[in-house]
Amino acid sequence: MNPIDDDTLQAYVDGALDATEAARVDAALARDEVLASRVRRMRALNAQLRAAFDPVLDEPVPAHLSALLQPQGESTVPLTVHAGGRAANVSRRRVPRRWLMPGAALAASVALLAAGLWWWRAGDDMVRMRNGESYAAGVLDHALNHALASEPDARAPVAIGLSFRTAEGNICRSFTIRTPPSRAGLACHTAEGWELPVLELSAPARGGELRQAASDLPPAVQVAIDARLRGEVFDARQERAARADRWR
């Protein structure tokens, strides 16, 4: 059997080995304390780096940064208008769109927060705020907890789309709110409830469609899914099992 070289050991720690290779390293670690201690040191460094930088994810985003991304700021951003033939699009009436993000940017901007509060009130209590993050409430929360995409109900106010587990290990579900104004979003299960990293106005699902095709989702929702999705979305059996396990 080949000895475990440095590259292999590093790939083991970083989760870059296939199952066979990882098992070979496991076996070597069990009988080689020197190797095992090198793995512990590498793991400790990885953990230290995560501990140092992951808290940035929870920091409020400075207002001047989130302001750059407001659609209203478009005129101040050079070159957003595509050269060559796309100018007609600019004068097209924009569908007003409001977005949610992990509360930081909202909290950072009073104006946005006011707009957001207005939106929640118009949003028939399907969203609640907690520590600057938005969470599902009421009918939406109930649907996320109980509804299955594999058992669609055409009359339900909320339709569930994809369910999947993220690289971080929590479960996210995309959904569409059918009651006007139609919205689509992504909800991710946390200890605090269903957090809503994104909620967008959407075109109403076309007649009779029970389950909105992924391609019909607003791009921001699609992007939010793509950013989190690792591996496969749940099939009917996995979805049911996840519900039985309370989406943990």
């Binding site: 780096l49 930088f53 750059l68 991304l69 993000m101 950013a227």
Partner: protein, 163 residues
């Protein structure tokens, strides 16, 4: 919908991760957020170049890495010693809030050559696979793993026996 709208909305979702990457690359909060601002402006300006079938995060991270390299070059501070010195200054005025261990880590990171630092930021902080990091940096995977291995050795040496 405009590609630029999709990019803008994708950037909103990406902002926290982009700030984390920038912090790992540029160090101090103010420098990191300056970098984030440059990245957002470039990403919006170039949104027509983003293909919707490509992962937005990798595209934006590549912009971030290049913007950081540009910044190092523009300041004439591509030498890692300068970055280390700058980090030392910041320690004196604003770094007091950091726990000692993180301060040590920040200094050790700042002392890494840019080639090593960006690999640590992309793989160990941002969680990209070796393949993804190699594609982003436009180098072979073996280059990523050897830089990472050397960076790890340097960081562990800096941080002493507890890491």
């Amino acid at each position: 919908m405009h590609t630029s709208d999709a990019v803008r909305e994708g950037l909103i979702a990406l902002l926290p991760r982009l700030r984390r990457l920038a912090r790992a690359l540029a160090g101090q909060t103010a420098d990191a957020d300056d970098l984030v601002q440059v990245v957002l402006e470039r990403a919006l300006a170039r949104s027509a170049q983003w293909r919707p079938d490509a992962a937005l995060d990798k595209w934006v991270f590549a912009i971030a890495r290049n913007a950081w390299r540009d910044e190092l070059r523009a300041r004439g501070r591509a030498q890692h010693l300068f970055v280390a010195e700058e980090s030392g200054e910041a320690v004196a005025d604003g770094g007091a809030a950091l726990p000692a261990q993180q301060l040590e880590l920040a200094q050790a990171l700042a002392a890494l050559p840019p080639d090593h630092r960006e690999v640590v930021a992309l793989v160990l902080v941002e969680g990209l696979s070796y393949d993804e990091a190699a594609a982003l940096l436009e180098v072979p995977v073996g280059t990523v793993t050897s830089r990472l291995s050397r960076a790890r050795a340097t960081l562990q040496a800096h941080l002493g026996s507890d890491a």
